[in-house]
């Protein structure tokens, strides 16, 4: 493998403009909603207006009399198809059935009750009004603590409890640290806080859409999904259709953020209807449907206790979580908080840690993965309470972190949560961030404004984060009872003209894999960037893979890609040796060509393209050489990847109106080596803004009857360009030692880091007013109320 390392990397590291753009900026994109097939029928789904009710009657017959209607079904008319949960986190987890189309009972507003099939979309939607449903209302519970109280209404009456599971990690029991009881008993400083992770809605811009096309006993499913491979496997399991008869295509997909990491009721319903009618069918949700019924994220109550000494050295941490599952368990719903369990200790070293999470059912839409999934929640809580510790002891928040973080010379470092961080340099990232931010000058200004009792106060927030990404070592997933592995795969195919086809098992939906993978392959094989085509998202061409989430594509899939390229070079060697009439052992591969070792690079040698043509003709190959330069590689990581960084935020808070405006934001991220700085910067910008959105703007709100009050973009307030600042983004670079490219993940980092940086800044601005917390989102009203009431 070392032979290619001698050549300077030309493409990796370059700010290549994206290959994907040409079709996206000209309107030539293939979204699922653009799929139109001859004879295709359209589905409309009737959704429950009740948060909890018994279905006394669902009569679809009247809908059949409406113009254009071809068929209509209730849950009783379709075969029983339970939606999958792939992560039973404990042996005794309560795991209720989750029918794709409700049968006897509905348990949240928006749950599918009936489906109408018509020749056009408008007719299908019109006919929904004719479906006759009688609901018998049942008691509703939406609040987690109420749901756990004695005598609470039960979401699943047959289960006798609203508790799904309790999962515990204890460093003393795990042998990764000491006992928190001892640590807390003797600690001079103990802080207790309750933080609330409000419910968020991922809000990918492309509404979900699915087309199911039965042809004989074969099925093609187009879906706006992040997980075509997992969807294929689970559609087969759920519907009983043999896996080799199911093809799933994720064409261009308009964002996901974890929100399209799901096997949805709509996908299963469309499949079942297509199967039943023998015709292609399409369903595309409206935005209102999407906000109501696509899975939500976050929604945790975090009780966190921190023990420390008077110098600010952390002695122990205890976390008790309530995690809202919603009414059912989605694909990885119960596991999301566990991804945070290993991150509460963050970049700090301390001796004792205990984490306990209880999953709770309520009459709300399910929660599941949303950008960061568990890790933003953990990072928020620890970074908030580190600021509280600083305030308690009168120390600078950066100094408190410095006294606790893992030194750059201490890697690899095994944490109190049992993970081994491979690399990092928190000092370097923090120094760079402080300098870009102008930290000392801002502190001076803050002091002046405080002294002059300025109406507009300045707040400074810091967040020093790390995260575990590159999901995931299969053995670790197995030990956490997850249903699948975490490997990733790639194929590299040399075409006779010297062009290269690359197939990846990852499934991009905005992450620019076509560009980044081309850059990597160009360097590995010595071919032109333009000569590489990256294929993905169709299980017919990409027969296996574990798709895109958890900042895994480059961190895991990138290694599979490099390995596949190396296999191609190995396969080409005997061919090149034959063409050059030399011994294989005398060859070297450099600058995209094989030459006899020691030959000057001016000699043309034999390129991979030469070998590909020779293999295509196959007229004159050495005996026993396979006429192919194609190679597959599948890679299972041994460890996660641990990007880190320091984010700093300065906010101005109008103490009379409660309005918060971000004055400056600096993000210094260490994501290891960078394949394309343009793409990395884009991921950071978008990630930071999504985290800012949680801090300041977004919240999914239910009323006591279980109605979603934020069911449109009028009420669920995604920030616009006018609401946001420019982000100053820079990097430090500590290569990942276990990765041939040295890369770490970047997709979630910004979101993980930014929420606590912003809220720490808002609280910092208001500390002189006795405020030590503000519930997210920090709207003007919440800030103003906190100012009136002091500590909230």
């Amino acid at each position: 493998m070392t032979v290619t390392d001698e050549r300077p990397a030309a493409e990796v590291g370059a700010a290549r403009r994206r290959k994907e753009d040409a079709r996206l900026i000209t309107g030539r994109t293939m979204w699922t909603e653009n799929v139109a097939l001859p004879g295709m029928l359209h589905l409309a789904i009737l959704r429950s207006p009740m948060a909890h009710a018994r279905l006394v009657r669902v009569d679809t017959a009247p809908a059949l009399r409406e113009p254009g209607v071809v068929a209509a079904f209730s849950g009783r008319d379709l075969p029983a198809m339970g939606l999958p949960c792939a992560w039973p986190v404990t042996e005794d987890m309560v795991h209720p059935d989750h029918p794709a189309l409700a049968v006897d009972e509905v348990r949240h507003v928006g749950e599918p009750v009936a489906v109408v099939v018509a020749r056009d979309r408008a007719s299908a939607v019109d006919a929904l009004a004719a479906v006759d449903v009688e609901y018998e209302p049942l008691p509703v519970v939406t609040d987690m603590e109420q749901a756990l109280a004695d005598g609470a209404p039960l979401v699943h009456r047959d289960k006798g409890t609203n508790k799904s599971y309790t999962w515990v990690f204890d460093s003393a029991a795990a042998g990764t640290g000491g006992s928190t009881e001892e640590a807390f008993a003797n600690a001079p400083v103990v802080l207790r806080r309750r933080y609330v992770q409000q419910r968020l809605i991922p809000s990918f811009m492309e509404p979900r859409s699915v087309v199911a096309d039965p042809t004989g006993d074969q099925y093609t499913v187009w879906s706006a999904t992040q997980i075509p491979h997992i969807l294929r496997f689970l559609l087969s399991v759920v519907t009983g259709t043999p896996e080799h008869k199911v093809r799933v295509v994720a064409p261009d997909v308009g964002g996901g953020f974890g929100g399209k990491l799901q096997v949805t009721p709509e996908e299963v319903i469309a499949f079942a209807v297509a199967q039943k009618l023998g015709k292609p069918v399409k369903y595309t949700e409206t935005r209102s449907d999407s906000l109501l019924s696509a899975h939500h994220g976050r929604d945790q109550i975090q009780d966190i206790e921190l023990a420390a000494d008077r110098d600010g050295k952390v002695l122990g941490l205890r976390v008790k979580l309530l995690a809202n599952m919603g009414a059912y368990l989605g694909l990885v719903t119960p596991g999301v908080p566990l991804l945070g369990a290993f991150m509460y200790n963050a970049i700090y070293k301390f001796p004792a840690y205990r984490f306990e999470c209880t999953g709770v059912f309520t009459n709300t839409t399910i929660t599941d993965a949303y950008r960061g999934a568990g890790r933003p929640e953990a990072t928020y809580a620890i970074e908030r309470i580190m600021d509280e510790l600083a305030a308690e002891l009168g120390l600078d928040p950066v100094e408190v972190r410095r006294r606790n973080w893992i030194g750059h010379d201490e890697f690899p470092f095994t944490t109190v949560a049992g993970l081994t961080y491979d690399s990092g340099n928190y000092e370097a990232a923090t120094e760079k961030a402080l300098s870009l931010f102008g930290y000392d000058a801002l502190r001076e200004e803050q002091k002046r404004r405080r002294e002059s009792r300025d109406r507009v106060q300045l707040g400074i927030g810091v967040s020093t984060y790390t995260e575990m990404c590159g999901l995931a070592p299969s053995r670790v997933l197995g030990s956490l009872r997850y249903g699948a592995g975490g490997w990733e795969t790639a194929s590299v195919r040399m075409l006779p003209t010297g062009k290269v086809e690359v197939v990846t098992g990852t499934s991009p939906h905005g992450q620019s894999h076509e560009t980044a993978w081309s850059q990597i392959v160009a360097d590995q094989l010595g071919v032109a960037f333009e000569d590489v085509e990256v294929l993905h998202g169709d299980t017919r061409t990409s027969h296996k893979g574990l798709d895109t989430y958890g900042s895994r594509s480059l961190a895991v899939g990138g290694i599979a890609l490099v390995n596949a390229c190396q296999k191609v070079i190995e396969k080409a060697k005997p061919v090149a040796a034959h063409l050059l009439e030399c011994d294989v052992n005398d060859l070297e591969f450099r600058g995209g060509a094989f030459r006899v070792r020691g030959t000057p690079t001016e000699e043309p040698g034999k390129t991979l393209a030469d070998c590909a043509l020779a293999v295509f003709a196959a007229h004159d190959l050495p005996d026993g050489v396979e006429p192919s330069l194609d190679a597959d590689a599948t890679f299972d990581p041994e460890n996660f990847s641990f990007p880190h960084g320091t984010h700093l935020c300065a906010v101005e808070v109008d103490t009379e109106t409660g309005r918060v405006s971000i004055r400056s934001y600096v993000a210094v991220d260490d994501v290891g080596r960078v394949v394309n700085p343009l793409i990395v910067e884009g991921q950071v910008h978008g990630g930071v803004v999504q985290g800012i959105a949680q801090a300041l703007f977004e919240e999914a709100v239910y009323d006591a009857d279980g109605n979603l009050l934020t069911g449109t973009f009028v009420d669920y307030t995604l920030p616009s360009a006018a609401d946001l600042p420019d982000v100053v983004s820079d990097r430090t670079e500590t290569p990942a030692p276990g990765h041939p490219l040295g890369t770490k993940g970047v997709g979630e980092a910004g979101t993980i880091a930014s929420t606590p940086a912003v809220v720490n800044a808002v609280v910092d601005a208001l500390r002189p007013y006795g405020v030590n917390d503000i519930r997210m989102p920090c709207t003007p009203e919440r800030v103003w109320r906190a100012l009136q009431g002091g500590a909230s």
Binding site: I25, T26, G27, T29, W31, A122, G255, S288, F713, A721
Partner: protein
Amino acid sequence: MPRISLTVDGVRYDDDVEPRTLLVHHLRERLGKVGTVVGCDTSNCGACTVLMSGEAVKSCTVLAVQADGADITTVEGLAGPDGKLHPVQQAFHDRHALQCGFCTPGMIMAAVDLLAENPDPTDEEIREGLEGNLCRCTGYQNIVRAVRDAAAAMRSAAAPQESVPIGGGA
């Protein structure tokens, strides 16, 4: 059903439409102009933005019959007949102003409209001007840069004596 006549991206179409048909559905489902997309149902996201007789409209908020006689430009009709990208398209590419690309057709059309009204906007004016278009991927920063670049390129192109390559800048 009323009969309407539309010119879309330079091609004239005459169709009978249901009075309740939205312009965006007419464009997508009848005329096959699927470059324009639907992102919401409350006119908040702007993904469906097109130019109607020179003015940006959210085509989910216009009835097809209201557009009778209008000249519509969608993202599909923005590039020149030789395929040369419009300066806004070029700048979006150069500045990495899109990731998943779903909001991009509407964002580009809104930016074209913004620059027609204000050829030299400040960053703040760009942010205010694009307030009606939501993007979930980019954080908007590169969109602002792209619009700024496109403005400069278009101003240079309008000044006949100067010649500056489109989409310049780092």
